[in-house]
């Protein structure tokens, strides 16, 4: 196991940020922490990255103890934080070469790695520019390049695409995917379902400082949701007179403020049944189940509120 946690707990005074969680991250997999803001994902990441001491429980990272071997662990780790923390007083290339120095990487090695990494994140044309004028996506890519300067075995991404436009997100996903192809182990926190489904081999769902489910995206969907979901929107009048009329149409019905979700294995069939019962629908959509539905069924809330 690359990371092993047992009854891992983080408290700040009386506040419990992480409440006795267990998980294992295997070598060369992409492991996700999915959950809403405040679920304890970042606190967990900070403990793994040796940035925050463990309050209680066990944690081993690359076979070492963060409390006593932080320096050794950090030498083999890459961290991409939630908020960019590039050195804005240095150029793009200096950011990489200076960071290499913190790892005691010799100058000539640092220069050739910086070249490779700038290529990898498609920033080679901006090498001598200042950091400030770069776009959000470029800064994120530079932060990723910086996290890879020590050729880490384990790379931690804390909400890697929050705040990026769709194009920048896809480019970033592609880089993360390639990184995994090269054999790196990735830990990714996110509150985006699509991101977790795209990138993670296995993931845990966190809510209120605890792990509420664990598995591959597909396993989680099979276990906690149906194959398909029928999303219905109603006019206000129809909505008010609905009670009981949707009964028996689906395994589970979830009423959200703006729409109603019917969990069913055959969405079209359920929709036909809705029409047969003369329920006036404003719009209807049949889609595959996603991790969002898993989270909803586990907690009764949607992830991004």
């Amino acid at each position: 196991m690359l990371v092993r946690a047992r009854a891992l707990t983080k408290r700040f005074g009386r506040f419990t940020a992480v409440d006795g969680i267990d998980f294992d991250v295997r070598p060369a997999e992409a492991f996700g922490f999915l959950g809403p803001n405040g679920a304890g994902k970042t606190s967990t990441m900070r403990m793994i990255a040796c940035a925050s001491p463990v309050t209680e429980g066990e944690l081993s990272v690359i076979g070492m103890n963060p409390a006593t071997q932080a320096r050794e662990i950090k030498a083999r780790l890459g961290v991409v934080p939630q908020t960019d923390n590039l050195d804005t007083e240095l150029t793009v290339r200096e950011n990489l070469e200076m960071y290499a120095r913190y790892f005691d990487i010799p100058g000539s090695v640092a220069r050739s790695r910086a070249d490779e990494l700038l290529e990898f994140v498609q920033l080679n044309e901006r090498a001598n520019d200042q950091v400030e004028p770069l776009s959000g996506g470029m800064k994120r890519r530079l932060t990723i390049a910086r996290a890879l300067i020590n050729e880490p075995e384990l790379v931690i991404f804390d909400e890697p695409t929050t705040g990026l436009d769709p194009q920048a997100r896809h480019l970033l996903w592609d880089r993360l995917y390639r990184l995994k192809q090269r054999g790196a182990t990735l830990i990714i926190t996110t509150h985006y379902m699509d991101e977790a489904e795209q990138l993670c081999d296995r993931l845990v769902v966190m809510d209120k400082a605890r792990i509420v489910a664990e598995g591959s995206p597909l396993e989680l969907i099979e276990r906690y949701s149906t194959r398909e979901v029928l999303e219905l929107r109603f006019g206000d009048a129809e909505r008010a007179s609905l009670d009981g009329r949707l009964e028996g149409l689906a395994e589970r019905v979830e009423v959200l403020p703006d729409r109603t979700l019917l969990y069913t294995d055959d969405g079209e069939k359920s929709l036909d049944e809705v029409h047969r019962r003369n329920i006036a629908v404003q719009s209807a959509l049949v889609r595959r189940s996603s991790l969002e539905d898993v989270f909803l069924s586990l907690t009764g809330r949607s992830l991004v509120e």
């Binding site: 001491p53 209680e56 950090k74 780790l77 240095l90």
Partner: protein
């Protein structure tokens, strides 16, 4: 605090030196773009001050009481005092806004601490850098004093390490303070209530013997006074050998306590 919540074990101060040099290097990388500007102003500022106040005000004083400042005159008294206050002000500035920037606005330390460096490496690296900056400014300053014929004894060179020690005392305490702050409002209080009074009442512009007894006692308890006394003694060759060890002991303790506080304060802020 229970044993489990204690911060991770850190290397000793001596083991922290090598990683700390990386931080020094980072600051050098930024500074080398502007070093000539910084040193030019480091020259211009004391030159103008001494010309205006030393020669201008000094001439007036010489009329009213020709022997008040002995053979060196007012400018000789003022020069080392200005060196002391310049050291304090430079150290204070360098240890407040730039440190807070690296803690929370630019988050540089968050990035650096994700590398093998520890908060202790960061504290030592920053202090080494500030010590270097103060030493270089003080060297220029001594050159200006030599131009005005104030620094004559070779012992004056010893004022450089004393200047660095004095500055590092202020630096370490202010880094410790900066690490407890969540915005920069606290800094203006420190400047108004600590730095400015020390600037005026530490024997910089006039001898403390002019002041009422209570103020003299208070001055004895504050750090800048001891730094200024030592620097003035070394530069003018008038060192009071009985008092000098006490001044030095004060400055050393001031810095040592500040260093311990800065180390703890930064660890509490950034590694909790």
């Amino acid at each position: 605090m229970s044993a489990a919540t204690a911060p991770p074990a850190q290397a000793s101060f001596s083991d922290s030196l090598r990683p700390a040099t990386h931080l020094f290097h980072r600051n050098w990388l930024v500074y080398k773009r502007i070093w000539y500007r910084s040193l030019f102003f480091g020259f211009l500022q004391p030159f103008m001050f001494l010309a205006a106040m030393g020669l201008g005000v000094g001439a007036l004083l010489a009329h009213s009481n020709p022997n008040a400042f002995g053979p060196v005159g007012y400018i000789g008294f003022l020069g080392p005092g200005l060196l002391g206050s310049t050291v304090m002000q430079t150290a204070s500035f360098e240890s407040t806004y730039p440190i807070m920037n690296k803690i929370m606005w630019g988050r540089n330390y968050e990035a650096i601490l994700a590398s093998p460096l520890s908060t202790r490496n960061v504290v030592i690296g920053e202090l080494a850098w500030i010590g270097f900056r103060i030493a270089s400014i003080s060297t220029i300053f001594l050159g200006v004093l030599a131009i005005f014929g104030i620094a004559r004894s070779p012992l004056a060179l010893l004022a450089i390490p004393v200047a660095a020690l004095t500055g590092l005392g202020f630096s370490s305490w202010l880094i410790a303070f900066a690490a407890t702050q969540t915005n920069d409002i606290g800094f203006s209080w420190v400047y108004r209530l600590v730095i400015n009074p020390l600037f005026l009442f530490s024997g910089t512009f006039f001898p403390l013997t002019q002041m009422p007894q209570p103020i003299q006692v208070i001055a004895w308890l504050t750090p800048l006074f001891h730094g200024v006394e030592l620097m003035r003694g070394l530069i003018l060759g008038s060192l009071d050998l009985g008092a000098a060890p006490w001044h030095l002991a004060y400055l050393l303790s001031f810095f040592t306590i500040g260093l311990i506080l800065a180390d703890r304060s930064l660890a509490r802020r950034l590694a909790s």
